[in-house]
């Protein structure tokens, strides 16, 4: 495809869901959801999010809000990151209880 043909085609489409406002709304919803998770961390997680993230039923509304405001790939990305940080936290905290490991 030549440069000129590229320049003329698809000129008007803009993905607004990655622009500043959408990003900020997404971050806010994401943070709300994760704080809900932290708050209810003692409850048993019964719902399944993406990439293996589990969350309790109390956080269901914030989860829906989060998924609505962010793209699916972003949701997966943030969930994966959250799981990773939780896992490393668990490893760091568990040092006293798991001896010899």
């Amino acid at each position: 495809m030549s440069l000129e043909a590229y320049a003329s085609a698809k000129r008007d489409e803009i993905h607004t869901d990655v622009l500043l406002q959408a990003r900020q709304a997404c971050y806010k919803a994401r943070d709300a959801f994760y704080s809900c998770l932290e708050k209810h961390s003692d409850k048993k997680p019964t719902e399944i999010g993406s990439v293996g993230l589990l969350y309790p039923t109390e956080c269901k509304p914030s989860r829906e809000d989060y998924v609505k405001n962010c793209r699916v790939s972003w949701v997966k990305h943030f969930d994966r990151q959250y799981c990773k940080t939780k896992r490393t936290q668990r490893l760091l905290d568990d040092k006293e209880t798991r001896r010899g490991v």
Partner: protein, 273 residues
């Protein structure tokens, strides 16, 4: 001469023993053995006079071994001397100026010509950037967190350098997601950060060629139809006015560190020029 006698003496002894062990051999051997034993007996008789011979022979054995030691020592010493000389020759003397010619050969040559479309739908190639310092970032607009952070850092650095030090560095954002990042998209996205950032896109082949020249890794991941993320190295390249890549910065630099480093590079360049 005493050495030969010593060797012959021991050889004769061996043959005598061997003849006893191997009776199969022909009569010639036996005759030989007889001859040997006879002469051995003769030697036995000569034993009292043989003592000085033995003494001389032992002395000779020492010296025969000793004959080899000085050459070995000399050879070893010569090897050491050669190594020392070689080290001296190869080492850079302390206090001598390091030749600046080595600077250019330190890193692989990154960069090269490129032809892309900017956010105003104009065709741009690297000639248009000659004469400017350029801070180049390869990213994409649909990045969840790292992309926006890096572009924000870039904008802040450009601001800092211009406001405080009055140094103009041109920020350029090249999209590694050209299929979704149209010029209009780039314009809308970059406008929110800083109007000075130049956005470049184009057909996939052109972007891929430029990414290859700048050794940028990028790959589509988590693909679900039109929704995907692009994994990349998220690094910024500092390019001098001759379009040569001077330095590469990773995500670990924040805005202050980055501006400090860029300032350092600019100063160094001014000293050389």
């Amino acid at each position: 001469m005493p050495i030969y006698r010593f060797i012959f003496f021991s050889a004769k002894h061996r043959f005598a023993h061997a003849s006893n062990l191997l009776p199969r051999f022909g009569s010639s051997k036996r005759i030989q053995s007889c001859g040997y034993t006879k002469s051995a007996k003769n030697n036995y008789y000569k034993k009292p006079t043989g003592h000085p011979v033995v003494n001389v022979e032992t002395q000779a054995s020492h010296s025969s071994g000793a004959y080899f030691i000085p050459p070995i020592l000399l050879g070893f010493g010569g090897l050491l001397a050669f190594l020392h000389y070689n080290d001296e020759r190869r080492a850079v003397k302390i206090g001598k100026d390091s030749y600046t010619g080595s600077d250019t050969a330190v890193a692989p040559i990154i960069g090269g010509p490129f032809t892309l479309v900017n956010s105003e739908n104009q065709i741009v190639n690297e000639q248009d950037f000659l004469g400017n310092w350029v801070l180049l970032y390869f990213g994409y607009t649909s990045s969840p967190d790292i992309g926006p952070d890096q572009v924000r850092i870039m904008a802040k650095v450009i601001d800092t350098l211009e406001a405080k030090k009055n140094l103009k560095v041109l920020p350029v954002f090249v999209t590694i997601d050209p299929q979704r990042d149209t010029p209009a998209q780039l314009r809308a996205y970059l406008k929110e950060f800083d109007p000075r950032i130049v956005g470049l896109g184009g057909p996939v082949s052109a972007v891929r060629q430029m990414a290859q020249e700048y050794r940028v890794y990028f790959k589509k991941v988590e693909e679900e139809g039109d929704d995907y993320l692009v994994e990349s190295s998220h690094s910024m390249y500092l390019i001098d006015p001759k379009m040569k890549v001077v330095r590469c910065f990773g995500v670990e630099y924040n805005a202050e560190q980055l501006s400090k480093e860029i300032l350092k590079e600019l100063k160094k360049h001014q000293v050389n020029a």
